[in-house]
Symmetry: C2
């Protein structure tokens, strides 16, 4: 005390304390390899303490990293509070990554202990590499027995924590203490590590609770289907605890039937995941009886929520889709497409239109949308720019990646007086997303910065062109990339996989005409190239990099743009 | 960047930015000396920038204190964001304090500029003292003209801000920057200053938004009746802005009729203030027609919300009373008496019982309830202890009052490794409130620590005895204090003002019998002293200090407690 005024630090501990003391009887339900388990916050708190004691006994100290290689279940949730609250750092690893990425990540993070699901032991053993895993002293399998495995120093979780004291003297941690870590796997290069401090997780949790965030209440029953290795399952394990709500964890590889059963039997009110999960659930529900009446909201993120999914859940199940956008770098919550006061009286289609955007920035953050010169573009729903964000749960750097920091962050000149370089406030994260903002502040992602086509000083959204092309019944897949052009800088070229038996010439004419109809004339691709398949990345996304390398050929576009189709002819 | 990971600092700026950009058309309504004014967040933002430019022009710099001596209106609200966001510190002064306290406060804070309401200019001029006000360079009257006053260097607000630019380049402030300041006027000694950093106000704002806080939504219309000089009007100016909700400021000295009119005409959904305001509104509504249908909730704090008020608003107006507790030291939000899931099916009287408690600690804070030895008392709804709290918006010190810091804060031994004494996390604020906590975690204040009567190792609540005594129709006023006792440490003595014409002997017997009926036998006062009036403090509260000094006389209690009425006889 003395010196600058202040308060005690922002850490996760109060959330655990509050749930355990004030909601001792609320439940944590978990579908595991061993069946459905359930216990109360009171028992949860005791097991979290046991886990911390076990980790301390295994030599884990303040600042050490502990990795998890796990799906969504109660043991993983126990690690979520035990590891950071004892002063160590929870590093969630995506088991779907290729082996060489897993090796890089474990080595880069220097994890001392790894928790691993029974069903993922084989995958982990396959990725094991003596050098990359040198820091790892112990493996703990998330169950009550150890499967047959070539891995050494393997314990099962229940033996690991069993017999430990059910109290732990949680330390008073500084808010700068690293508490979590997650790697973002870009489409190019090595994964980049993002560290979450106690303060970042505290802030993200507090921002998730209100209406303008994810609107969590103590009466809610929350089922995160988004994996706990994807940016802390969007923070739900923390925010659900802070709200005193009931947790439902769907376990390893849940089927649509598993999800429907959990919703019905546990009274789930809020669930969350990527669009494909909910398409799967809609298909299942169309064929099967299931009582969805408890379900109020589905938080959709990870990719854009299609308007048709938003409409179907509303019309058929009276469920609101809460479309949200975020990034690993943001822990992850950025925007939520809530309707504003008054919008509930708009025609339903207009409401869906708003809900299909990425939405409004949540309180506590700031954003700008800038063009190539760093100038802000107007919020008119049409002009594009790259989205920059900053705030108390947005990272200002990648772990040990100075070259990426140079590229992906903007440090403002100056800063307040008396601050060292380390303390400069106001650093922007360049999200790499190209967006429009409408006059009401709703953000809509129209492209990735590296995919947007820069033609004659204007930007063309490859994503909008692709969506338009793929709406044609004779198009199986389509992607659009910018090909270098001497005069116009870049021009769009479409790569189209036609459905079997389609006449390519007439399809090409049809597509060009359709684009010219729907968009400014100069958006029309200079060439439509028919291919057999769009190359894909390891995670199944279109790999435009491959196409760009393959078609780095100006002849595709040279001389093809008529002058009257160029953007400056439209001024 | 580099070094410890982290994110950008927590400041108020994003809240202003978000409201201005995303809710440009939401309104700010204000009842002033000049009538009812209204404008939008968009215009609000422009005026906030004008005010910051005017203050900068007047020489206000980073770290300077700017005082306000004002009621609740839009100009005061403009100062709420302009002053802290430019790096200065907003110091709200309570105009109801006695002159010598105002002098002490202005001198202690060294305010450089004072905003003052037209109706308070005379009061301020009366308190003016050349030495105490030496730091004050300028007075700005909150209107468009300067009244006749002996004060010098006086400008009117509209001239002060008029003609200034409507943009301001808000700085990137560090979160430790002092942003606000408020003095708490204890019943004894000089007022103590509490400084709020940007981080504390950011945290308090985020904690106010969710259901477990004050549950603010963008569709709300919020009218803080609690004065803006009382702990930032409980943070509503900040939290309402963060939510994007509509503000209604009731202006100087609103009558119940003013409040009813504003609720009806502006569609107020949430209002907030001390119990007497709502008793006044109930009286008004009983006699007059007013449409209260928009009103959903009244946040009551400052003193305990009587169960009868909670019941009447629910039964007669379908309005939920949200009973909350806090302190100047906590910015102020601590607990909120929300019902838990399932409690809505309890009988109404049981619900009111819960709602009449101070409630559940909000997420992000921690508390303990301790006895004289610092040991935690059980949460059984019966055992008393002093409430200690800590968290990111709870101060850890008073401004320049080391002797008060010694008394009112508990610094834990140690702290995390590597921390200097200044950074020790986990400091507890000793609230001075004596409470019970029930098994569900609801806090109930039973006394102030200095008023609780410590008898034979047990605690007796003076407040509960007083409430019981005052329930007797022949008692006009009653208070109970502990008088020193050789054997029992302290024993209770009741001071009673009888209604006119009451027989004192029979009343005394009746009161003793009633207490022995309702409480443990040893709670019965050793003596009932009849007096003409209970001495009062400047703010109208019972002044027990005066009685304690007057009756520091063991003969009142010596030999009066029969052995079988002492607490250890009841073990």
């Amino acid at each position: 005390m003395g010196g600058m005024p202040g308060a005690t630090d922002q850490t996760l501990r109060p959330f655990l304390w509050r749930a355990q003391k004030m909601f001792p009887d609320r439940e944590v339900v978990s579908r595991t390899h061993e069946g459905r388990e359930r216990y109360t916050y009171s028992e949860y708190g005791a097991r979290v303490a046991q886990l911390a004691n076990a980790l301390a006994g295994a030599g884990i100290e303040d600042g050490d990293r502990v990795g998890t290689f796990c799906w969504n279940h109660h043991r993983h949730f126990e690690a979520y509070f035990a590891v950071p609250s004892m002063g160590a750092q929870l590093h969630t690893i995506n088991p779907l990554l290729p082996d060489h990425h897993i090796q890089y990540i474990v080595e880069n993070a220097a994890d001392r202990l790894l928790f691993v699901d029974p069903s993922l032991v084989e995958k982990l053993a396959g990725a094991y590499d003596e050098d990359a895993f040198e820091s790892v002293e112990q493996f703990v399998v998330m169950g009550s027995e150890v499967p047959d495995t070539p891995l050494e120093n393997v314990t099962d979780y229940e033996s690991f924590v069993g017999g430990e004291e059910t109290d732990y003297d949680w330390p008073n941690l500084p808010e700068e203490q690293p508490a979590g870590m997650c790697y973002t796997s870009g489409t190019t290069g090595k994964p980049k590590g993002v560290e979450y401090t106690q303060q970042m997780l505290w802030s993200h949790t507090m921002a998730s609770l209100p209406e303008a965030g994810l609107d969590l209440r103590s009466s809610d029953v929350v089922m995160p289907v988004v994996p706990m290795f994807h940016v802390n399952a969007w923070g739900f394990p923390f925010s659900t605890t802070a709200a005193g709500a009931k947790h439902v964890y769907p376990g390893p590889s849940p089927t649509p039937e598993d999800l429907a059963t959990l919703i019905e039997e546990e009274g789930v009110t809020i669930t969350a995941g990527v669009p494909t999960v909910w398409l799967g659930l809609l298909e299942y529900l169309a064929e099967n009886d299931a009582d969805m009446s408890s379900l109020e909201r589905i938080v959709i993120g990870g990719s854009a929520a299609p308007k048709s999914v938003i409409r179907r859940f509303d019309e058929e199940y009276d469920v609101t889709v809460t479309h949200a956008w975020g990034m690993t770098e943001m822990a992850p919550l950025g925007t939520v497409a809530n309707l504003k006061p008054g919008m509930e009286s708009l025609p339903k289609e207009e409401q869906y239109e708003k809900q299909a955007k990425q939405g409004l920035l949540v309180p506590g953050l700031e954003m700008r949308v800038v063009d190539d010169d760093g100038e802000e573009v107007p919020w008119n729903g049409e002009d594009f720019g790259e989205l920059w964000v900053r705030g108390p749960w947005v990272t200002t750097e990648y772990f040990e990646r100075p070259e990426a920091n140079e590229e992906d962050f903007e440090v403002p000149a100056g800063g307040a007086s008396g601050q060292s370089a380390d303390e400069v406030s106001g650093v922007w994260l360049k999200t790499g997303d190209v967006v429009t903002v409408d006059p009401e502040g709703y953000v809509k992602i129209v492209d990735r910065a590296k995919d947007v086509i820069k033609s004659g000083g204007e930007w063309i959204s490859s994503v909008e062109l692709e969506n338009a092309l793929m709406a044609n019944d004779n198009v199986a897949e389509a992607t659009v990339v910018g090909v270098p052009h001497e005069r116009w800088q870049e021009r769009p070229v479409a790569f189209v996989v036609p459905t079997r038996g389609t006449d390519e010439d007439s399809l090409k004419a049809e597509l060009i005409e359709m684009v010219e109809d729907e968009f400014p004339k100069w958006w029309a691709p200079d060439e439509v190239v028919f291919i057999e398949e769009v190359p894909k990345t390891a995670t199944g996304k279109f790999d435009k990099k491959v196409l760009r390398e393959q078609y780095d050929d100006q002849s595709l576009v040279e001389g093809k743009t008529p002058d009257d189709a160029a953007p400056d002819a439209n001024d």
